[in-house]
Amino acid sequence: MLTINEIQDEIIEEFSVYDEWLDKYEYLIELGNSLEIIDESQKTPDNIIQGCQSRVWLDAKMDSDGTLNFKADSDAIITKGIIALLIRVFNHQKPQDIIDAQLYFIDEIGLSANLSPTRANGLLAMIKQIRYYALAFNALNK
């Protein structure tokens, strides 16, 4: 299993082939479309992260090996593509590793504007929520 930073480096490498913005977006759309679909029953008000631009749903479970399993969705496809990347980074990692992680790949691939608090696309809140889940599962484990 790759570490969080190994996965981040892998993503940076993948994006380095794209010079054009819209090519990056094409790739994100592709990722968004291939993201495992979250069950409609899990799109509950509890799981929604409301942004005024796009909405994000996030659900988390702990697997038997003590790692976390995230499922997420968004009504906007490019947002969903970024979510797919975040899930790839954080899925099947231990709660403590998620808490300790420095998230640098989004900045590196030029998508940091999407995490601006004023964008209100739900992504920043989603990352916060991923960390809260990690903290909660970590506390539960002790």
Partner: protein
């Protein structure tokens, strides 16, 4: 009107964004500033900067003169009866908050009613809600139809002897609809009810004559008509402004202060507590002169052509839903690509150098009316060109291909 010549007046328009020429179509959010406005701000700080009113020295007198001349310019621009009816505010939001607070204190009692249109911007809803809640008053909604036209015929039915004020936008920031405010005012006045007109989206497109309209209050923002941000106007008929209590307390709005009793300044200073944005006021003067020089009717004619052209071309693409199909519109085009999210569309257009706005546009009740979470909004101003509309249409085509295949 020579648009290329006009574009030269706006230095910001010449830039490239992500390698593409900037196509600025977010004018309903804020307009760009001509060089003369930028120069007026620089000139003020370079030559005249000083706090206004009551200064005995030369610079203060000069700054006061610039501020008060700006007030006279606004008075002429909207044809108010007197300069005392022109209150400087931060913008239309502050203008409406001022009115909502002062009007409610003076005129609204428990059980009273306010009528607000369904297509208002949040800034013409929330201030009234806050004050209505405090006073135990009720808000009634004047609805619009699916074309985006207000159902003015329903107004009579909403009015009761408890109706205290009617608040309506002159032009919708989301749908573009120009409302028949004259008709609404006539109906309201036949019941002795005053009307607030939110002109934030009208002032830059339509000739407004407050005496002819006979509106009782009007709110507007300077930055929507090529002036600096942070300056706006609350117009009110003198008979009302005289009766309303001040909104905020502080310097400039008082006559005498003692701990036993404070008396307030004459209009309009009663409503201008603290140091006003006198630089902004000066920039508004310059901006209104600029608009006058070009002629608002020429600007409106050009914008109408742009809107017509854009609407036809976008409709011709197919697979697009346009929101707001009123007969009379300002240059606002709200739409969604069927099957695509407005946010995705906006992000793709952005990377093509095209600035549009996406989301609810601070009009969630309009979104609820149509059962949508948002739209993409392109809004045109005097400096936009037909080539820019073509760029928008190409961008939408591109986004459509990427998002729905």
């Amino acid at each position: 009107m020579d648009i290329q010549q006009i574009r030269n007046d706006f230095p910001i328009l010449g830039q490239k964004i992500y390698g593409h020429p900037l196509v600025y179509l977010d004018n309903a959010a804020t307009t760009q500033k001509p060089q003369c406005v930028l120069d007026s701000i620089m000139k003020f700080y370079t030559l005249y900067n000083s706090n206004i009113h009551r200064g005995v020295h030369y610079l203060s007198e000069k700054a006061t003169e610039i501020y008060e001349n700006a007030r006279l310019k606004v008075k002429e621009f909207i044809n108010a009866k007197s300069r005392t009816e022109i209150v400087f505010t931060k913008g239309s939001t502050e203008a409406i908050n001022t009115l909502a607070s002062s009007f409610s204190q003076r005129f609204i009692n428990p059980g009273d009613e306010l009528i607000i249109s369904e297509m208002e911007h949040h800034s013409d809803i929330v201030p009234w809600q806050l004050n209505a809640q405090n006073k135990g008053a009720v808000i009634k909604v004047l609805p619009f139809d699916d074309r985006g036209e207000l159902l003015i015929d329903k107004l009579e039915n909403l009015i009761t002897n408890k109706t205290k004020i009617i608040c309506v936008t002159y032009a919708s920031n989301t749908l573009g609809t120009v409302n028949d405010v004259e008709k609404i005012i006539k109906i309201a006045h036949s019941h002795n009810i005053p009307v607030l007109v939110d002109a934030a989206q009208a002032i830059q497109h339509l000739k407004i004559d407050v005496q002819k309209l006979d509106c009782d209050f009007l709110a507007l923002s300077g930055h929507k008509i090529y002036a600096e941000t942070g300056i706006g106007i609350l117009y009110g008929k003198e008979k009302y402004l005289e009766e309303l209590p001040p909104y905020q307390g502080g310097g400039d709005m008082i006559k005498n202060v003692s701990f036993a009793k404070t008396t307030y300044a004459e209009l309009p200073l009663k409503f201008e507590a603290g140091t006003s944005n006198f630089v902004g006021a000066g920039s508004l003067h310059t901006a209104l002169d600029y608009v006058d020089k070009l002629g608002l009717e020429n600007i409106a004619a050009h914008e109408a052509e742009l809107l017509k052209y854009a609407t036809q071309k976008v409709e011709a693409l197919g697979g697009i839903t346009i929101y707001g199909k009123a007969d009379n519109k300002v240059s606002v085009l709200s739409f969604n690509i069927d099957g695509a999210h407005h946010y995705d569309t906006g992000m793709i257009l952005d990377k093509l150098g095209i600035a549009v706005r996406t989301g609810t546009h601070c009009t969630e009740p309009i979104m609820q009316h149509f059962g949508i979470t948002g739209t993409v909004r392109a809004s045109f101003a005097l400096y936009n060109t037909f080539e820019e509309v073509d760029a928008l249409v190409d961008g939408i085509k591109r986004a459509q291909k990427m998002l729905v295949g």
